[in-house]
Amino acid sequence: MTEHPHPNPLPAGEGARQPLDRQTMANRLAMEFLDGWVVNLGIGIPTLCSNFVHPDRHVVFQSENGLVNYGPLAERGEEDPNLVNAGGQYVVEMAGMAILDHADSFALIRAGYVDVTVLGAYEVAANGDFANWKVAGAKGGGIGGAMDLAVGAKNVFLALEHTTRDGKPRLVERCALPVTAVGVVKLVATNLGLFEVTEQGFLLTEIAPGYTPDDVQAVTGAQLNVSPDLREFRRR
């Protein structure tokens, strides 16, 4: 995923509006991980989910290049040159770690042994489709493991900025870009809020400080439903 400078989709009025930073977005999704879940994190904001440590839940991190139960990023100087995660970052071993070859790793992914994958995206649609492998006008694309994860994981969460650098909505009625998978997205964290994908489309359940649902709707390309229990974006 391309990493963009952090955009502020709405001008900050009176300093009250505070879009969420990337770690806060990642933390919020990580709060949804249940004890024992097998978790696969994409590159970019999703990787930051591993920084959130739940006090009484243990999750198992899985990486598409054949790692199960790997540890945190390696400190400089302690890298094993042959131990990397899906983003090519050097990680450390954990007790209980296991290695699979690539075909077995994706067998695990497709067969539903991954409880949640957190991915980045260019667009997500109200029907649960999302697009993250090809930008407009390009001949080539980068699929990597995203299509397999999207159809195989029991839960697909997305973390993305609410708008493009040009201010165009990334939450839309239907994807304009080529999709990665159809109807799979359950939960979306953006810098403006938390959105469940329901039969009726996007449901805004938590919102960034200082924003109103109308503010968020103004930069969203699909009809937003607002939860009767709408609350400020949770940080823990």
């Binding site: 054949g66 983003g87 290695i99 497709r110 694309g141 980068g142 299509m147």
Partner: protein
């Protein structure tokens, strides 16, 4: 050390697959060959064999590789073959750089129509290679259903879910990197060096392996600890101390 000495006396010596150097191991690869290149984000990439093939000069190659070459640093990988026009076609899970600000040598050639590519999901790539080495002609996968990847392909519903038909992907050669081998090619990989190695070794007609450690006698690797049996391996070259090592890049 594991030994099965009591069965050794009555059999002819097994063929020694160790080659003296990388150039000898790739010398016969012709123009137009198809070659699988193991490796994921560095580990498992047979960098010394790729460098030798680059020196050897074969062209019109078809490559099967997770990516069309790295861009983060200048370590040798298939990008060197792509950059110098040796590659006609590549089968990969990426045909764009994940970091658009740092394009790969492949990107410009591909956008200009000077190289062919087949893009597919990474799990489909791995499974197509696995199928080729497992006697399976084709398989149905849920990955890619409803996307451009399924365009023009047969789909079928099983138990209420739609799947797309994908075919096996074999090759003439595979280049694999492992930690150690015995003389007859039984292999062990280290950590995520394993990735595509085991499936590519089975799917290629000729599998060439570079290994980090000196070759050991057969019997030295416990049979329960062999990751790739030697019957899938044809040629072995030991990476010398002055060869290309897998190292963390400067940061």
């Amino acid at each position: 050390m594991w030994r099965t000495a009591r069965f050794r006396a009555n059999v002819a010596p097994m063929r020694d697959k160790v080659y003296p150097d990388f150039d000898a191991a790739v010398a016969d690869i012709p123009d137009g060959a198809s070659i699988m290149l193991a490796g994921f984000a560095g580990p498992g990439t047979a960098r010394n064999l790729i460098a030798a093939l680059h020196r050897q000069g074969a062209k019109g190659l078809t490559l099967i590789s997770n990516t069309p070459g790295r861009w983060q640093d200048d370590r040798i990988d298939c990008g060197v073959l792509v950059k110098d026009g040796r590659v006609a076609k590549i089968h990969a899970a990426f045909t764009a750089s994940p970091h658009p600000s740092v394009p790969s040598p492949f990107t410009d050639l591909y956008e200009a129509g000077k190289i062919e590519a087949e893009l597919m999901p990474q799990g489909t790539l791995a499974e197509r290679i696995r199928a080729a080495g497992a006697g399976i002609a084709a398989f149905y996968t849920p990955t890619g259903v409803g996307t451009e990847i399924a365009d023009g392909k047969e789909t079928r519903v099983f138990n209420g879910r739609e799947y797309v038909l994908e075919t096996a992907l074999p090759a003439d050669y595979a280049f694999v990197r492992a930690r150690r081998a015995d003389r007859i090619g039984n292999l062990q990989y280290h950590r995520t060096q394993r990735n595509f190695g085991p499936v590519m070794a089975r799917a290629a007609k000729t599998t060439i392996v570079e290994v980090d450690e000196p070759v050991v006698e057969e019997g030295s690797i416990d049979p329960d600890h062999v990751h790739t049996p030697g019957l899938f391996v044809d040629r072995i070259v030991v990476v010398p101390p002055d060869g290309i090592q897998e190292e963390p890049p400067e940061r």
